[in-house]
Amino acid sequence: MLSIKNLHARIEEKEILRGINLEVKAGEVHAIMGPNGSGKSTLASVLAGRSDYEVTSGSVTLNGKDLLDLSPEDRAREGVFLAFQYPIEIPGVSTINFMKTAVNEIREYRGQETMDAVSFLKLMKEKMKLVEIDESLLKRALNEGFSGGEKKRNEIFQMAMLEPSLAILDETDSGLDIDALRIVANGVNKLKTPNNATIVVTHYQRLLDYIIPDFVHVLYKGRIVKSGTKELALELEEKGYDWIKAEADAQTV
């Protein structure tokens, strides 16, 4: 489904991604871990199409289509969804309001009929239940005055609405209390099908107790320096990153 080959990206002369290779197949869950500043959010942003980053070499395809060629909106329409690490506030734009536009623009792109107000409302109610989010929150200006947890839940609500084929969750677990974590993880699990894939970026094993990854990768200095199965996450939890850093640094010298 997703194929990243030798991806290099930089921002303002600073090379942050330095040769990422990653294959994600339909139905899989991949966890990306790694120390602060290693480039996890950068990778997520590059996949979603943030223009601040310049891709200097490499390729990214989604179901055979060149992603790097597409605008952010077209990537979303092709099925990419990024749950932001720090969801921003947009005064004057409510979640309901812009979701209606988003859902219909995506449908239009795919040659589907646009959704009328009644069916949209029905879909919304259904997804609201899934992530246990209150309607009043969705009527307010996007994330304005939302608590950290509410913002994250709103991200997952939007993901539920858009049913992406590739969801990238950037530290969606941080800032969530135990109950919220379970609800969000549950939502993600319920949205899982054999046809879609999920990349979860996280620092904590606790999320991976709920969302069980098929693969775990460690990103360090812009490269995936180690990959393994869910046991790798447990090992990291126990031993930290130093041993991996040492291994990786020894190799690059």
């Binding site: 979603a48 199409g49 943030r50 223009s51 605008s71 952010p72 909106e73 990537r75 979303a76 329409r77 969804f81 990024l82 932001f84 969801p87 921003i88 947009i90 005064p91 004057g92 734009v93 309001n97 812009f98 979701m99 536009t101 988003a102 859902v103 623009e105 995506i106 792109y109 200006a141 996007l142 939007q158 858009l162």
Partner: protein, 425 residues
């Protein structure tokens, strides 16, 4: 040539002085014409007109106070408004009682000529400093104005809508509507001002609205400027709080050519409150200049000003917000904010807050910003599948609605929402 319009106006004044209607406000008007004669039209050398150039506007030849040729049907179209309101209609600057609905309860709406002369004489253009010659020019010809007199303790619920209509089908028209609004003690009213033109020649309108608020009075004013591209509009607005009173002024500019708003508010009694809101959406070659002055002349008053601009194309904008806090005006609270968004590289805006504070126990703040639409917000929306164009519109909408939110009259707000929606299409 700049002198031509000036000279023909002065000549016109002298001709009019020989007619019977000239007795009205004769001293006031004579004083005003001399001020205009001395000052002439403002040029960009004038500090307050540095960024707004009337040169091209006054270089044209205009029919002055030309007779109306609108059919009943034209009037109907031009004054269409989906709001239950009283209509006060001016054609080419001249108040037309026969076209207007003036049988309002609690308020009299009459031409200066037949209204209470005492009131007109006592208030209209009284104690105006003619440092801006455009006001003087209006006052000099103010024989066909109207008095909107809200009687004590009366609450006029329906908005009183002044239509400044110009017939520019066969010629350029220079028009000068004059309005005096007196809100007596414990009375309240909503006054809307709309300028609309018909035709493809140039409309040049120099309006003056003088509002007086007595003790416990409340006045809501809305200036809605959404005229043809060839409509050049100077609006001078003077609000004087004579007694403890509140005013609420909203200026919304959606279309037109050159637009200049002078909004001057004098807080002349203790415990007055003045709210000034503005929104300008510009595109093409539009130019919108908002000059505001809040004069805190007395202690314990409050003023709050919020102006937002969104400029596209090659449009230009000016915001100049003065706040004076006089020596005696202790415990003043004055806030001002101006935010501009430039949607294109060619659009530009000059923004200048000017605070002059002579009292020591005051709370004042001001801020002015100019920038682009938040790129983070743009990316967020686009990453959810919303196209660039639609995302832009959503954000612009949000900014506009921030100001619209403050419009208190429901029907009016709904109407404005629709107009803005239409304008953003």
């Amino acid at each position: 040539m700049t002198t031509e319009l000036k000279e023909s106006l002065i000549q016109h004044f002298n001709t009019l002085e020989k007619t019977p209607s000239s007795a009205l406000l004769v001293d006031t008007r004579k004083e005003a014409i001399s001020a205009f004669q001395e000052l002439g039209f403002p040029t960009t050398k004038h500090e307050e007109w540095k960024y707004t150039n009337l040169k091209n506007t006054i270089a044209k030849t205009y029919a002055i106070e030309s007779a109306a040729t609108f059919s009943a049907e034209d009037i109907k179209t031009l004054t269409a408004l989906p709001i239950d309101c009283y209509k006060v209609i001016f054609v080419n600057g001249i108040f037309s009682p026969s076209l207007s609905t003036i049988d309002a309860a609690g308020v009299t709406i009459e031409p200066f000529q037949t209204s209470n002369q005492e009131v007109v004489k006592n208030y209209f253009a009284k104690n105006l400093p003619y440092n801006d010659s455009m006001v003087a020019l209006n006052v000099a010809f103010a024989t066909a104005g109207t008095l909107i007199h809200v009687k004590a303790k009366q609450h006029v619920a329906k908005p009183i809508v002044c239509f400044y209509l110009s017939d520019v089908r066969s010629a350029n028209v220079f028009a000068q509507p004059s309005v005096l609004v007196v809100v007596e003690e414990a009375a309240s009213a909503t006054v809307v001002e709309l300028n609309r033109s018909l035709g493809s020649n140039t409309a040049f309108t120099n309006a003056f609205t003088h509002a007086i608020l007595k003790k416990e009075a409340y006045l809501e004013q809305y200036k809605i400027q959404n005229d043809i591209d060839n409509s050049n509009f100077v609006h001078n607005s003077q609000i004087v709080h004579e007694g403890k009173s509140n005013s609420y002024t909203t200026t919304i500019t959606l279309n037109g050519g050159l637009v200049r708003n002078n909004l001057n508010i004098t807080l002349g009694a203790e415990h007055c409150e003045a709210y000034l809101n503005g929104l300008y959406l510009e595109k093409g070659a539009q130019h919108v200049d908002n000059h505001t002055l809040v004069d805190h002349a007395m202690p314990n008053c409050y003023s709050n000003e919020l102006y937002k601009g969104i400029l596209d194309g090659k449009s230009t904008g000016v915001f100049n917000g003065k706040i004076w806090v006089r020596k005696d005006a202790q415990k003043t609270n004055a806030f001002q904010s101006n935010k501009n968004i430039l949607l294109s590289k060619e659009a530009s805006v000059h923004t200048k807050p000017q605070l002059e504070i002579f009292a020591d126990d005051v709370k004042c703040s001001h801020g002015a910003t100019t920038g682009q639409l938040d790129p983070e917000a743009m990316f967020y929306l686009r990453a959810r599948g919303v196209g660039e164009d639609k995302a832009k519109k959503m954000l612009v909408h949000a900014i506009a609605f921030d100001v619209l939110d403050k419009v208190k009259h429901d029907e009016l707000r709904a109407y404005l929402e629709q107009e803005i929606e239409e304008r953003l299409k």
